[in-house]
């Protein structure tokens, strides 16, 4: 019997097999002219509104987002950005969504979580899985901001392991549900009117199944319903203006019509929602990264030490250049995935995870570098540098910790090797597909991709069971894949931009920037691959074991 054949348009999945299907990133996907124009108009409008209406320092200090800011989001119509026109929104896609998230985040990381929790997370279940009746009932009120939403998945005992949640809902005789449970660390909780709550429901085929074996379902629960209690605000390190609370549900009656999607489909709904949510989070990181970069450049050109602008010192330049190069790469990776989502690709799980890992970790480093450029002043609350660092930290944790996402990428990427599936991919890219100025980097990227494929297959052949149990090796494989995905995104985006650039000086500047950007990714990919041959896994395991006893 021949092995089943699976076709994949996913670049990241293909990378584990040493393939680089050109159609998955070349030509770099860009929205059509009208979408681009509309997006620029929206971004310009939101940017000037945010500059006038949002005071990020006050929001951080006062630990709250003024009501006028949240009302402003509704009045501008922003909360209907991705809602279809027939339901009161303007029906834009993921590209426009990510650009808007970026520009709001560029002003205030706390404020953008309101949009993320509401439109990126809470609204998605009905948008993706709701019936026509549910869409007609919920989407218009989400779009005009009358209803602000919040997404309640995590519980004290179920964080990364969200599938281990214990909230449950029982079917009543009249068809309604009685829901109980407690959700932890819920964004938008203090002002949300509705929660997307994930809870276990009976399995009609196996009514006596123990709680943790019952399937999960998704409900929209009104904050005003009897039995809903929102606790006091958590006292947080960053995103201080955002609302994060525990929310408990005590025998709350949920009407039958507010079960969203099929009974038992809740976990799939949650994963699908987080899949695009993560991509939006990467876009937010671009906004904060641009903010930090701008501040660092201003500081580096204004501050004089030893009679020179500090921007003239090599070690300061290293940080500044890295910031510009990394911002370019964050945009390339995020906009590539947005293009794939908008053109209707269904498999972008790993691309979205790559964007989240790369953008959150780059922002974290970049924010620290910006603070370093500012010196002691950067440590002072009077200036924005330390706030950017504090706000950036959570990104590595929520919407799937970066560890969990690394195991996800490797687990998925390795699958075809264990199932002996024959995968089909379009033709791989060749160096000639890239701008001539970028040939050297393109050749190196293609060579590393081939190495990743060879290494993965060697490891799988040697000891498949060990590989599946070894998170460190998996993380290094996925690290290589994240770096390569981003490198190819950079090279593809730059190839398109270089072809369009008329001005010689601009073109030369662009080539310098993208070469640096691509080379930083390739260094990362090579390093992660090299560590596979020099594993510390055993040592690490014993060092922890001896301490735990």
């Amino acid at each position: 019997m021949s092995a089943p054949s699976v076709s994949s348009n996913s670049l990241v999945r293909s990378l584990f097999l040493g393939k680089t299907p050109a159609a998955s990133f070349l030509p770099f996907p860009v929205p059509d002219a009208e979408t681009r124009e509309t997006t620029e108009e929206i971004v310009a409008m939101v940017s000037s509104w945010a500059a006038d209406a949002i005071d990020p320092a006050a929001i951080d200090t006062n630990k709250t987002i003024p009501k006028e800011v949240i009302d402003g989001l509704s009045e501008l119509g922003l909360l209907g950005l991705i809602v279809p026109e027939e339901h009161g929104g303007i029906g834009m896609g993921q590209y426009t969504y990510s650009r808007v998230m970026e520009v709001v985040a560029n002003r205030c990381a706390s404020t953008v979580t309101v949009i993320g929790g509401h439109m990126g997370l809470c609204m998605k279940p009905v948008l993706l899985f709701g019936t026509d009746e549910q869409k007609a009932r919920w989407l218009p009120t989400f779009a005009n901001g009358e209803t602000i939403g919040s997404f309640a998945l995590t519980e004290a005992g179920a964080g990364s392991d969200a599938g281990g949640l214990r909230s449950y809902a029982e079917l009543q005789e009249d068809g309604s549900w009685k829901l109980s449970g407690t959700k932890a660390m819920i964004t938008n909780a203090s002002f949300a009117n509705v929660f997307a709550v994930f809870a276990r429901t009976p399995d009609p085929a196996f009514p006596t199944a123990p709680l943790l074996e019952r399937p999960i379902s998704c409900f929209y629960v009104r904050a005003a319903a009897d039995g809903v209690t929102v606790s006091a605000e958590e006292n947080k390190m960053g995103l201080c203006g955002s609302s994060t609370c525990e929310v408990s549900f005590d025998e709350v009656i949920v009407p039958a019509g507010d079960l969203i999607g099929a009974q038992g489909a809740g976990f799939k709904i949650a994963l699908n929602t987080l899949n695009t949510g993560r991509h939006g989070l990467a876009a937010c990181c671009i906004g904060q990264a641009k903010l930090a970069t701008g501040l660092a450049f201003t500081q580096a050109t204004e501050r004089v030490q030893f009679g020179k602008q500090i921007a003239e010192f090599g070690l300061v330049q290293e940080m500044l250049a890295g910031m510009r190069a990394d911002v370019y790469a964050m945009e390339a990776g995020t906009h590539l995935a947005a293009g794939l989502i908008d053109r209707g690709e269904s498999d972008y799980l790993l691309e979205s995870a790559c964007c989240k890992i790369f953008a959150t970790e780059r922002l974290w480093t970049l924010a620290n570098d910006a603070l370093q450029v500012a010196g002691g002043m950067g440590f002072m609350r009077e200036y924005p540098f330390e706030r950017i660092v504090r706000d950036a930290r959570i990104n590595l944790i929520f919407e799937g910790t970066n560890q969990i996402l690394r195991t996800l990428i490797a687990g998925q990427g390795l699958r075809p090797l264990f199932r002996e599936e024959q995968s089909e991919h379009g033709p791989s890219a060749v160096p000639e597909d890239f701008a001539v100025e970028l040939r050297a980097e393109a050749e190196r990227a293609l060579a590393i991709a081939a190495q990743l494929g060879a290494k993965t297959s060697e490891l799988a052949k040697k000891n498949a069971r060990a590989l599946l149990a070894d998170q460190s090796t998996q993380a290094r494989l996925s690290e290589t894949a994240v770096s390569l995905y981003t490198a190819f995104a950079v090279l593809a985006k730059a190839t398109a931009e270089i072809a369009l650039e008329q001005d010689d000086q601009n073109k030369a500047d662009l080539v310098d920037l993208v070469r640096l950007s691509a080379r930083r990714r390739l260094v990362g990919a090579s390093r992660a691959l090299a560590r596979l041959d020099d594993p510390d896994t055993e040592l690490e395991h014993r060092v922890v074991a001896s301490a735990i006893g």
């Binding site: 509309t38 108009e41 409008m45 501008l76 922003l78 209907g80 303007i90």
Partner: protein, 250 residues
């Protein structure tokens, strides 16, 4: 009421101006443009006037083909239609040439009231509005900070160096708008989408010759870098000394 807002495409506030190679103007490559600040106030007042009295607002500009971007911005905020007097050399026209072309179009549109910004933020001439009124033979109040329209009569307050002046006038009239008259609205997503369906008419204007000729432009001399003398009260003597001996202002 037939209402016109005259607006201008100007270099964005953050633009670092560079002199063109002929030394007679600005280098327009790599420049971002926007709606002039005071024109946002003019447009807002035009829209409020329409909201109060009914009618239609036309956003009118003399500008290059790309100025449809600024017109669309006006349509998104609530203007009903746009008219672009297409002129690739718009930035090189003197105020008289511009005012005549706009006045002719205001007549063609049958406007009853025209709103302009008090000045465009590129040249800061503050002259096109009153010149247009002169060509039209209409009443004109400049630097208006408060306005009410009652049928065919208007009441306006204007800010001058001497204080606040109050006027009454008959329509048709040209009003130039000063900061404080209103708080311009944001377009909003619905406005941006609605603007796509609103008409923009592009017209090749008849332009008279400039009566002034630019001989050259120069950037202002670079300001010397600031200096921090010290911190806290201990630094006061050194500061006083510097103000006395270096800056010679005391």
């Amino acid at each position: 009421m037939n209402i016109v807002a005259c607006i201008k495409r100007v270099p964005a506030t953050e633009t670092q101006p560079k002199i063109a190679s002929d030394g007679k103007g600005m280098d327009h490559s790599r420049v971002e443009y926007m709606l002039s600040f005071y024109d946002e106030i003019a447009l807002e007042e035009a829209i409020r006037t329409k909201e109060a009295a009914g009618g239609e607002v036309t956003a009118l500009t003399l500008g290059p083909a790309e100025a449809t971007k600024e017109i669309r911005d006006c349509l998104a905020r609530g203007a009903d239609k746009g008219t672009l007097l297409t002129d690739p050399e718009w930035h090189a026209r003197d105020t008289r040439t511009t005012a005549r072309a706009l006045a002719a179009q205001v007549t063609a549109l049958g406007a009853e009231i025209v709103f302009c910004g008090r000045q465009a933020t590129d040249r800061d001439n503050a002259a096109v509005g009153p010149m247009m009124a002169t060509y039209l033979g209409w009443a004109c109040v400049t630097d208006v900070i408060e306005l009410s329209i009652d049928g065919t009569k208007g009441h306006a307050k204007r800010e001058s160096e001497r204080g606040i002046e109050s006027y009454t006038f008959d329509l048709p009239a040209v009003i130039t708008c000063q900061k404080g008259l209103n708080e311009p609205r944001y377009a909003g997503l619905k406005g941006i989408m609605a603007a796509k369906k609103k008409p923009i008419e592009e017209i090749a204007p008849e332009l008279v010759q400039n009566m002034t000729e630019v001989l050259g432009v120069e950037l202002p001399p670079a300001r010397p870098a600031g200096r921090i003398i010290g911190q806290g009260t201990d630094a006061i003597p050194a500061l006083l000394e510097a103000l006395r001996t270096e800056a010679k202002v005391l």
